[in-house]
Amino acid sequence: MARVKIKIDGAEVKADTSMTIMDAARENGIYIPGLCHHPDLVPSGLCRICIVGVKGREKPVVSCKTTVENGMEVFTDNPLIDADRRMLLELIHANHKQDCTNCLKNNNCQLQEVTAFVEVNEERIKRMRKEKPLVPDDDSNPFFTLSHEKCILCGICIRTCNEIQGVDALQFANRGTETLVSTFLDGNIKDSVCESCGECVVRCPVGALLPKGRQQPARKVKTICHYCGVGCGIYLGIRGSRVVGVEGDRSNPVNEGRLCVKGRFGYHWINHPDRLKTPLVRKEGRLVETGWDEALELVARKFSGFSGDEFATFSSAKCTNEENYLIQKFTRAVMGSNHIDHCARLCHAPSVAGLASSLGSGAMTNPIEQISDASCIMAVGTNTTESHPVIALRIKEARRKGASVIVVNPRRIDLCKHADLWLQHKPGSDVALIMAMCRIILENDLYDKSFIKERCIDFDIFRRSLEAFSLDVAERITGVPAGQIWEAAHRYAAGGPASILYAMGITQHSHGTDNVLAISNLALLTGNAGRDHAGINPLRGQNNVQGACDMGALPDTLPGYQKLSDPDVRMKFDKAWNCRLKEEPGLTLTEIIGAIAHKKIRALYLVGENSLLSEPDANHVRSALEKLDFFVAQDVFLSETAALADVVLPAASFAEKDGTFTNTERRVQRVRKAIQPAGNSRPDWWITSQIAVNMGQSGFQHRGPEQIMEEIAMLTPQYRGITYKRIEDSGLQWPVLDKKHKGTPVLHTENFATPDGKARFFPLTYIPPFELPDKEYPLMLTTGRSLYHYHTGTLTRRVDGLNSLNGREMVEMHPEDAKAAGLTDGDRIIIRSRRGLVKAALKTSDRCPKGVVSMSFHFAESPTNVLTSPVLDPVAKIPELKVCAVSIVKH
């Protein structure tokens, strides 16, 4: 970047040509007062307090908006400028409630700071003060209050909501002295489109936007958000033994300080009184409190009575890498069973299976950061703004920079507002849609011939399979007009780096693996793999679902996806763990439930999974679990599933232990202990180790998570170079090949991770969803998520504010379908499928296409998965959670 020399108050300083006068001054330690400037936002020049003089210009210039020029001479202070600033500031004070001592922002307020610098005259302010009708505070939002009396109309909140969040909830309304920050129709913030992210609150320079019930923390601990797979960097604010707030970590490349509502405000469950504080054992049918010695001894004694295939473990994508590693090691080495799985089965097993065969690795190929600079983004089957909110910010950012955004989704999700093109396809018709796009790209000669020739195989059989996907056929199957499919293909293949983001809308199908392969075909065809800002990017759901897979909490792979079937691999682990591993892969999550129902598996070790709510066909799960001879559950709360256990072991929360999480872009990041575990709860790694130790096993005497990571690094090629020291400040993206290697932000840049280094095309045929609507069950049910809740709600439903934003299951249905069925908004309804029934409330909305209804699965009182179908994808064994047939009647 070009540098120029300028003079500020006579002193020579250097600056980049892109800098404003204010940037240059601040960088050189020279203060210029200002109220509407924020480094994250485009300058607005609204308050004019930051005016400065420039030699040769008659009038003062607005320093936050004027860029530097070579040789410029700036004066930050003179009597004229002073007087102007004073007048502007006095006017602001005349309209500002003078109540500093009672204001939470006292001593930390930009208006105070500027006032101390500029000096105002109290008398003049008094004279300018006008009686104005009082505009009441807006305290509708559970997490923050807007006080108009303190607002200085700097517009920072409005610009934040527009530029950072892309929500546009706020705008100035009215004019003159009546101007105020307002939502649409001047309604409550809570009822507006606001997503409660709090980004505006952290940027408000004065006390006009303040978090509710805020307490000043005594110290801050750097760690990682435990909710979703984005893995935002946070600071936990701690006071005594309580978490009193969360702040975004601006140094973290994933989020650069930004957070969503769950990450910023969803921490109240950590200190919730319902936390499990002591081990429980079942005596005469009731769970009673006991001490660790008794509980561990009992579990160790009972577990010793089961051998190999009688035992299964559900590990947890909420737990750390170290814990998942130990849990699978325990299951395999101590219990001699490969029956270990976790909820990845329910979300991204098809990604792992599909991408492993086409690219050699099932993870997101490109970093989150790079999304901002893609030229095209195709978001398929991902409701990104709700499920991965901070990744959605990147999509919006890319769009602002000119990227073309294609949304493929049966529902008019929020992201459609930010899309150039929205393809509303029928649920489950993805293969037809994407293969038709491939065909158009081929026919129009938009494909990357040299990439295909040099780096891919099986192109010809793939090409032949495209014959079945003419535009007409695709239009008929998908319901998307041919012209739109054509346009999508042309946008995607326009030549610039194109990134595909996808999530459960692709994977949760009985042909989920085919869907994933279709996506991989499309990216390979256009050379969009192994390239910056492009790639194939499965967005993983849970905070550490990537890590749990990496650590081998899967029935067929050991840590680092090393195959159990490989004798060399087994030998390596046999030696390291001092055991004899079984070659035969274990059963998957859904199969384990089946085996329990048939009494083949008799003991279950369940870590942090509320299976009753997240599994398909929940009634079946409950009756299966009741058949177990011995059932141990380990969790932070007594979940609906844990309540059925024989022994319940209280686990520490993410704020109470050390470890690492691996986010969806393969970044291994440090999680830190900020407070002592609640009551007598203990970190999961400690609990599992102690069970093993009580069973007389060696190999579980680690001093702590750091030492466990050393063992992981030794045995897992992708993690070989990871040490706590190296990831102290900022995480590394695997593979990290050795202790010097800097990690791998973009996968497959030179070779694919397949045995021959080539990517593979797959010929595909279209298979409709297994269960389609019929006379008896005329509607298609598809499941989704809400921004305000997480997974089965065990955590988020214990945060009052999140409940007040979204407190019960609402079934979305198109208004015309509702009318035809004689239903109106808010009706209590019964939803029936072939497997069971659920009660909920109805919300009519044209976000849902006709013939389709949509529900989440966050609410225990409306357990959606009673309805869903357990039909499995033949390869990845994922159940078809996204589509089943239902009927709806009034309750």
């Binding site: 546009d168 909830a169 705008q171 309304a173 009215n174 649409f184 129709l185 001047d186 507006s192 489109v193």
Partner: protein, 166 residues
């Protein structure tokens, strides 16, 4: 005075939107057309306008609320404009507004319950020699005091009462 229901709003809007290209810079003329059609800007109509023009709803409202020509509730049969220009202000226009507010049991900018009157404040209407004055629909009544102003209103509402009796 009846508020149109949503489906009806949508239909009437389609006619309006046909005349526009759907670009953000058409906001003001679109709002004007909506107000012409409905007599005010129904919230639902502003939402549709935002979607049509691809701009945020909050912006539509922000802009609409900036201009005094736009109203957010249906107007009464008669619009009473009280001039608050400098001359009228000096001649105690404030008291006239206050008086009419009590007489009609509404606040400035609102419409009376019977749907007959909407009360507004306006800037100088250019007949300062008659200050203070009000305009009812297009007729100017000058050299008023609060009592006279209230009487004008009473007279008008009586004519409506009579009409209804016929």
């Amino acid at each position: 005075m009846s508020m149109p229901v949503n489906s009806e709003i949508k239909e009437r809007l389609n006619g309006i939107f046909n005349a526009f290209a759907g670009k953000g810079n058409e906001l003001i003329p679109v709002l004007q057309s909506i107000q012409e059609e409905f007599g005010y800007l129904p919230g639902e109509a502003m939402k549709h306008a935002a979607r049509f023009l691809k701009i945020p709803e909050s912006t539509v409202f922000g802009v609409a609320s900036f201009y005094s020509q736009f109203r957010f509730s249906p107007a009464g049969k008669h619009i009473i404009k009280v001039c608050h220009g400098t001359a009228c202000h000096v001649a105690n226009a404030g008291e006239i507004t206050e008086k009419l507010e009590t007489r009609l049991k509404i606040k400035d900018g609102e419409t009376s319950d019977d749907g007959l009157f909407t009360l507004e404040s306006v800037a100088c209407v250019g007949c300062c020699s008659l200050a203070p004055l009000i305009m009812v629909d297009d007729e100017v009544y000058g050299k008023l005091d609060p009592v006279k102003a209230a009487r004008i209103v009473s007279r008008l509402s009586r004519t409506h009462g009579e009409k209804q009796e016929q």
